[in-house]
Symmetry: C2
Subunit: 339 residues, 2 copies
């Protein structure tokens, strides 16, 4: 069995602009990491083995960091955020395990995925376990507002993932359909993680809505940037293979824009490669060339930038503070990863 | 796409002894069925399509019936049990969807499984959606006791399912390990469904524990009987192929007992067929012959009967009533399905 790699990748941390968050809540994040290790235990030892593989494989812990920083921004100084940040990371980990089954991928963050090592069956079931454990943690916390926030997010995530299946192989997917998918599969959990910060601090509904909007816009910016990186990043930076989305027939914003702006011959290229999945080794290079010719990558980056700006603006209602600055930096750097 | 089959199979109802439950809470079950249809809706239309396929494919609704009957037994006369019975059925349906992925099975209750029609990916994600929706329903209800009961059950179910993976292909699996697996994968949700009845009625902890013990023992009796039926039932009665467990290398009580009681040559038969999965078309018949020679099937039925009796005994603390009688009949008939 492969050994867990407990340290986070320094490159990941730099590339995502979360230094500010780590400076703010680093000791709390260590407590979250400790709680993750404690609460993924089970007498069925395959569960912590498999969960540990993905939990420890170099993730940035961005969602728990958002819980911690937003709780801090909202003025909360107790302990509840530790357990709830753990719950959020467990939900995220469960979706990763189920994604790996869905995508038949065998590499994540540069390492073999759990399903490649232990099989689809165990990945599905350990994902289910972590999802259930996340709800047990929320029940221990005892806030129905938090339970509502995260059970709503979980339903929306599943809707987004199913929506992604439905838009796959369809190069005529609209930008609106794409936005709906990434709002579900990515932004919903970012939004919920940030909103939890307001709930533990018992802030009024307006503040909860603002933190939720911050997470929503940040999540969209983050996913759009990821979708650009899938066509542009070096493997060493991204920790996954360039061109995954293309090879899987996933239709993301750069491909949507290139299809819309392409001529008849180009559109047939997209229908053949993404629609009918008839691909040659040269097609990825050709796809990137078409995208660059139509400014599809730079336009996608610009749109991500707009969402990142909106995220920052939603924080204006809070007094300037180190936590506000750290969250603003996270939004700014979410898109700077592409440069 | 296949059409949902909304009616329940009359044979199923007769075979499981749930007539008493239906006579008791039939109108409430209709409200549960209506709530199931309403709450599995989503703007992502593949979700209700796929969920409807499995929800409507002739299940007995045994777990919702237990919620309804136990709430009645506990003296509750309000409306909360409708929504919570729906939540329990959604958790059950989610595990069926994920089981179908796990088992690579393509027939359930005589119909094509969802994953055979729509693919593994959609089955995993729609299962996730139903699981999340179950928690949304519980949050709407607002009882932390119910949320604890069912999130604990969900974690235990996942542990039982992973345990089943680990005991597969191992004919030396102990009876204790088998009991642990079925207690998790089946009895945990039966126990939680019954306990919910005590919570909505705000009964004292002793009553909640008794209803929980009833469900636990009933679930074990029910699963042991299913495991016998997998070797003895006619396809028309069971709605699934005889010998599924054998062909999948699942190690259940009849095989465990036959292995323990077999001679060296027989043990090599079990190691070859269940362990190394080297099977010929004649092996299922030979397996059943070995089981019969050692009384493994009748002994399994007798053990199921012991658990059914224990279930009945736990109801003694409640006053005699139509609901108590109906629940007692359910326990009695759980094992009479094999005759």
């Amino acid at each position: 069995l492969p050994q867990p790699v407990p340290q986070q990748f320094a490159s990941d941390r730099r590339a995502s602009g979360i230094e500010g968050l780590l400076a703010l809540v680093g000791p709390e994040l260590q407590r979250v990491n400790q709680t993750i290790l404690e609460r993924m235990q089970s007498p069925v030892t395959l569960i912590p083995q498999l969960a540990g593989h993905i939990v420890a494989s170099g993730g940035k812990r961005l969602r728990p960091l958002l819980v911690l920083a937003c709780a801090r921004l909202a003025g909360y100084r107790g302990d509840r955020q530790i357990r709830l940040a753990t719950a959020v990371e467990f939900i995220h980990t469960a979706t990763l395990l189920h994604d790996d089954v869905v995508d038949k991928s065998d590499l994540r963050r540069g390492q073999a995925t759990a399903n490649a090592v232990w099989g689809n069956q165990a990945s599905v079931l350990v994902g289910d376990f972590l999802f259930a454990r996340a709800f047990q943690l929320m029940v221990e916390d005892g806030s129905l507002a938090v339970l509502k926030c995260l059970s709503d997010a979980a339903a929306t995530i599943a809707e987004g993932e199913v929506g992604q299946l439905l838009t796959a192989n369809d190069p005529e997917t609209t930008e609106a359909a794409y936005l709906e998918v990434i709002r579900g599969k990515t932004a919903a959990l970012f939004a919920a993680a940030c909103e939890v910060g307001a709930h533990v601090a018992a802030r009024p509904a307006g503040d909860a809505a603002a933190l939720r909007a911050f997470g929503d816009n940040l999540g969209i910016a983050f996913q759009m940037t990821d979708d650009v990186l899938d066509y542009t990043a070096k493997q060493a930076t991204l920790g996954k293979t360039v061109g995954d989305d293309f090879r899987e027939g996933k239709v993301t914003l750069p491909a949507i824009l290139a299809f819309q702006r392409g001529n008849a011959k180009e559109r047939e290229f997209w229908r053949r490669t993404l629609g009918r999945m008839e691909q040659t080794p040269e097609d990825l290079g050709q796809a990137i060339a078409f995208m660059e010719a139509h400014g599809a990558l730079s336009e996608s980056i610009a749109r991500a930038g707009t969402y990142a700006e909106r995220a920052t603006e939603t924080l204006a209602r809070f007094e300037p503070s180190p936590s506000r600055s750290a969250l603003e930096s996270t939004a700014r750097f979410a898109i700077e990863r592409v440069y």
